[in-house]
Symmetry: D2
Subunit: 361 residues, 4 copies
């Protein structure tokens, strides 16, 4: 490629936006040309994020996506729910590709979106063409799209951990429980009492119990897997949707998501078959590391990287499997996967700019 | 009471032992006369734990339980598994009461103990008389005993959170999953690489997946509850034992346990009935705070105290209830419950020395 | 005392206010009758601070100090600078005692206050009678006062660590440097980006470098010490004020202050003399623990308690002494010292309700 | 360069060794051929450090430096003090370059080494040729050497923060005080009670007060600066050595060093002159970011990177300057600077493999 991809970031001063800026800086074939912000317009980006001093000292620009579309090859929107649906136009999409880190185009059923997000969806006409950007699952569709819905952090971890077992009908989908744990960067940079250091430190708490917005996203994708992509099967008799319990917890650490998933094994499924399934699906994936039977993921081993680590244990006493997945919510759970999607959408090597070891300690 | 209860602590230089020393110092009717230690004999206790300076400057004594029994009214053993079973005698029990914070006398079935702990039990003859010291469940038996098995930290939290629902057959015991999270003090003060600051900080991990030693303790007690204390029912046809999935996780914080428990509701059970059950069982308990339907426990609200906070959410979509319990593993999960048991065993007010607010932040 | 002291707290929903509520709950001779709040009026106090559930479930009341003065024996103001000076009246002081945790009455020179705090002082007429509540230094004046200025957290630690050496002219006051470190609760409960978990965690930073507001408070009190209480000496020729460098740092922990203090030793001063000075001044103090030459205070050993731990090292190579003091900023640095002052002002035992061991870990 | 530099790491399983492995993996012109370890021989390196899975799955080899010298172009020794001095030979140095991360060749005066480290120095014959690898100060000597003494973490931060002011005689060297704070990775991966999570978390403490081993290293280098490299001046009448107070503190965070430095300004020195001095010395340095007068470094802004951030404040009241430096102890304070030195020693671009933004949060 002769020229670098010109990337603009709307919402560059949130945590995910900043992580995009950082990752794109070291990407050999892309450059950030627009640091969009609502609150910090005209202030040097490196005043907002001191780590970017010497890397991004230019002033923040406003969140004018139409103007940005004139200059950019790709726009990343790391914005609150509802923003992109409110401003997206055919004109924008005709000029550049859009990778949305919000939930606006993740759910195909607009009524599910509106129920869980309590927002009216302003651009349902683009839902059809939007591709759900779970790279390891939807790789081919991603290559061709101009509108990419980047998956949520919990959902990437939960879906990819369970996907092969659901698709192969190795587990009973009605018994799935996902107990997830997240670092605090997932809560964003908004100034809220509940996210102050002294409120989060030395504590763990569940939140969004039975009603967290990532639930329908997980259920929809696992439903596709179970019905082998036959989306209509879901609405047929006997084609009931998958309903799960999903409980996130806030952990006193900056980064990281761990999903501990439980499900009943179907008759005859054992550890070696499960190991084989994972190997078949993910054995050659550059960003999934299989830890095998008895392998225990820990968030420290993926911090700062685009990896998802997966391990599992079969419990013969109870007939359940415990699948555990760990990733960095800022990277594979947000900005890293967004860059991986960009690589696919622009025909680059999928691992470009992303294949480096996690940082420890 | 004219004289203070003379208490000796074997294993006083572990974290639980230290917490006992701290709680007993402020107890109006007890005093510590013996700080037992294997590693720090003759060193001032306050050199080992600088917080105790001005409170416990006397030298540590060795772990000679027979000598201690001559001086003490009660002996607390905060020792590794196998210690008390290896040294306990009728002579000791004839002279003073013993409260054991290890697992030696928690499980009634010696073969279960030996299987999960991989230790030979040296004193099975005392298993019969030992009382499992879950104060809110076994209060009456505790009053009369001379040998008390103080429950584990995870088990106190898990059992008491689920006990009323299991006993009332409001949930299907075959569907119980307990996903638990613990602060790092639960791992003890041993010098191990895996518990170094840099290894624990900024990470969360599962451990003991499907084989943690607290599993059979939870299963045994919930089995008693389900069969209404009819222990023989467990071995009858149809009286199958309860088998659960229990997964502990290590959280980068000093104290606290959170148990997130999942189970299928039995036909016809709804949120108001569940609330009523909890109210009936725990409404008057001084150390259980009911947060009700939608109430979310957080470990920060119980830190440093003897409270167990319980909340729950009914998920009508999946037909499950999510019960959440939080306690301080060092207090209600260890030393605090041990003191509560001492109060009961010596006929004192049950709350003596324990009724103070949690410390925040 | 037949009746408990009735205490009201203005600003009860800040961190220091909450710590007061907690300490007063367990105080045998006081009770809180008023939880004042600007933001949470009519909400149960235990909804704001979940740890206080079962201890303080009554609704918050507003910040009406005049109404409170009708009901209370003592009012604690845990409020922003300028509040008390703006509302204090002779009428209030004639009805009850006031203990102010803000800076309004700490500095005797109103121009110094206005310069460092950038506020007009609205009640300079009360400055004369206000007593600076450093218990170990001003014990006698405290007993008689009706208006007490409770010292700042950094200042209590810094002044008391250095006071004996300055008063005995053992160190050159022109060479004093105080490098202080504070837990994050010192920054208060306001919703600010800079105090979010992810901003504070995994970082340390200096702040208020050369211009922190606690600087003149330390200088004034050490000046009194140096001039043996002869306040006029300060303005005489040769009676120059003491000027120090004071640099606070924000540490990723909830509680605790450590002050590392440097000064040149005067001719002939050695370690044994310094040890003797500390022993003379503080040897019998119930809340100061002397660690002696080579003793190193750590904030973990004072957490949750009213102790100040002091240690020192003489450096013969450089002719300096390094004095280190550690306390809990919420207790000895704020609410605990306020209660200690209340005890003195009401003729109670000075240690009443405060003599318990620090909590570890 | 046609071929990659073959690098071996002795002590690859310590924290600094692991950071070297990580940085060298992404270095475009180097590769690790030997992961040396005393404790983990034959175990896959990625079992010891799970982050390196998929990057370094080969087994650890033993610490045989002579064998390694046959294969490597450069050997990094991330080993305890005394190791390299005990095994280094002319033969090794004739075959490959050696970069030592221990203190063995940092101090020129063997008696100073033996006094502060309480070790006999086994290879004083190599002290003369060893170059002290402070890249920004000794760049030219570094290029030519075959034996490089990589500076300590505290020392890099302290010396480089003060170096320009000392060299220009802008401050009085007799008044220098360095109050430093370090993340816990600086304490290494040894299994010690004092470095357990619960012992470090929620606390700050000074250590090595007046006798930390980095003190003479700082003094020696600042002495050279003050005497303009005229090493003999130090031993002449009037050429007295610089003696400082250096106090490190342990902070509950994984990475980062902050040095808060105090010194009296020489007559006539003001803020603008100081700013100019820093600009002259470091204005073009790729790894030093100058924050200027009033600029406050924070360790979070350098985490994971090779940067040293420097800011300062002049205090006109006291006539002192407060200079603050922040770096990541694992990178610029150890492995990063070692790679920077390797780049210089092999004639590569100095920034090769090191010019990436810090990771936040």
């Amino acid at each position: 490629m002769d020229q670098k991809i010109k990337a603009g970031i709307i919402g560059a001063t949130g945590y995910a936006g900043q992580e995009l800026a950082r990752l794109l800086y070291t990407h050999p074939q892309a450059e950030v040309i627009w640091y969009g912000s609502r609150s910090y317009v005209d202030q040097p980006y490196s005043k907002v994020y001191g780590n970017m001093k010497a890397f991004a000292d230019q002033p923040c620009r406003d969140d004018d996506i139409a103007a940005l579309a004139e200059e950019a090859d790709v726009i990343f929107t790391a914005t609150p729910q509802g923003y992109l649906a409110g401003v997206l136009t055919e004109d924008i999409l005709s000029k550049c590709k859009v990778i949305d880190l919000s939930a606006d185009f993740r759910l195909k059923d607009v009524s599910v979106y509106e129920k869980w997000y309590k927002l009216e969806h302003k651009s349902p006409q683009f839902l059809e063409e939007a591709v759900y950007g779970l790279c390891e699952v939807n790789r081919e569709q991603i290559r061709g799209t101009r509108l990419l819905a980047n998956p949520g952090c919990f959902t990437t971890c939960s879906i990819e951990s369970l996907y092969p077992l659901v698709k192969e009908h190795a587990i009973d989908p009605d018994t799935i429980i996902v107990d997830a744990k997240s670092g605090t960067s997932g809560a964003g940079r908004g100034a809220k009492v509940q996210n102050l250091f002294c409120e989060v430190n030395e504590s763990i708490k569940p939140y969004g119990v039975t009603n967290h917005r990532h639930t329908p996203e997980i259920e929809e994708q696992l439903g596709y897997a179970y019905h082998a992509g036959d989306k209509e099967a879901l609405s047929k008799p006997g084609g009931s949707p998958i309903l799960i319990n999903f409980t996130p917890h806030l952990v006193p650490m900056n980064r990281g998501i761990l999903a501990t998933c439980y499900a009943k094994l179907e008759q005859g499924v054992d550890a070696s078959w499960i190991a084989e399934i994972y190997q078949n699906y993910y054995g050659n994936e550059p960003f999934i590391r299989l830890l095998g039977e008895g392998g225990i993921p820990e968030t420290r081993w993926v911090e700062g990287s685009n990896f998802l680590d997966i391990g599992f244990v079969v419990d013969e006493r109870t007939g359940r499997v415990v699948v555990m997945g760990a990733l960095d919510n800022m990277v594979k759970g947000a900005a890293g996967q967004a860059v991986q999607n960009m690589n696919l959408m622009f025909g680059l090597e999928e691992t470009e700019g992303l294949l480096f070891p996690p940082v420890f300690p």
